[in-house]
Assembly symmetry: C2
């Protein structure tokens, strides 16, 4: 499993909290990764309609939806993450033994099922929920000087 889902959620929480446009460079600094990776992931979020982007000078990424309406399930689907699954398959479909030829598909079925219940589970967690969790009990530090959020 890649961590694209984590990057996407992080970026959305950040953008929804700051409520202004931010460049891939700024997001990358906060997330601690590189701008190209951020752009790749954000372009998927744009295709899913979760963010707006603007090219050119003064451009960047912005979150325009209601953060309580965007669920982690939507984010997961947007980036195409697969929570449970392996590429390696045991046995061999061409063997005569029914176990050797059938196990891999059975395991895949189990992984698909687990993946599905994972998506269901995060369907009722919103971007706002995550934001609240992060700032729970602590001062929000709104309007902190620019370098503070790096």
């Amino acid at each position: 499993m890649t961590s694209e889902f984590g990057v996407a959620v992080h970026a959305l929480v950040f953008l929804s909290h700051r409520q202004t446009t931010h460049s891939s460079e700024e997001l990358a600094q906060n997330i601690c990764t590189n701008p190209a990776r951020v752009r790749k992931i954000m372009s998927k979020l744009k295709k899913a309609g979760l963010i707006e982007t603007k090219e050119g000078a003064e451009g960047g990424y912005s979150f325009v939806l209601a953060p309580e309406k965007v669920s982690l399930c939507e984010v997961a689907k947007a980036v195409g993450v697969r929570f449970v699954g392996v590429s390696w398959r045991s046995g061999d479909i061409h063997k005569k033994c029914m176990i050797a030829s059938g196990m891999a598909d059975i395991m895949d079925g189990i992984y698909n099922d687990l993946n599905r219940i994972c998506l269901e589970r995060i369907d009722n967690i919103s971007i706002l929920d995550i934001r609240r969790q992060i700032f729970a009990g602590k001062e929000e530090k709104e309007n902190t000087p620019a370098p503070e959020w790096i």
Copy 2:
């Protein structure tokens, strides 16, 4: 995620079906991997009490429990598989920004939760269930000549 869980389930289904002792070489042939890997994984199953092993000539691995009593959850715990989780963490715990410093732990919490519900989900699937699924509607091919199961 490694495929150790798949190898373990495959081996247990195979052993419970054939009901005799088999060497790591025979298991490896059926699973389509190498004997050393099989031995590494089987030693974990032994420590968990899911199989019995015998060293020396005529030794090998055997399944001695009731296959309907062994759940995939036990197997997962025995091999220590983690279904959901990533090693990469976004942000940096030392940054002042609460999002940058807090996101990784939040995501880890979500992954832990998803992992837990995955274990719960497979807790009521037994080795016998898998065996039945494999042979559902098809002839069991009991007592086939030796090379058949390779």
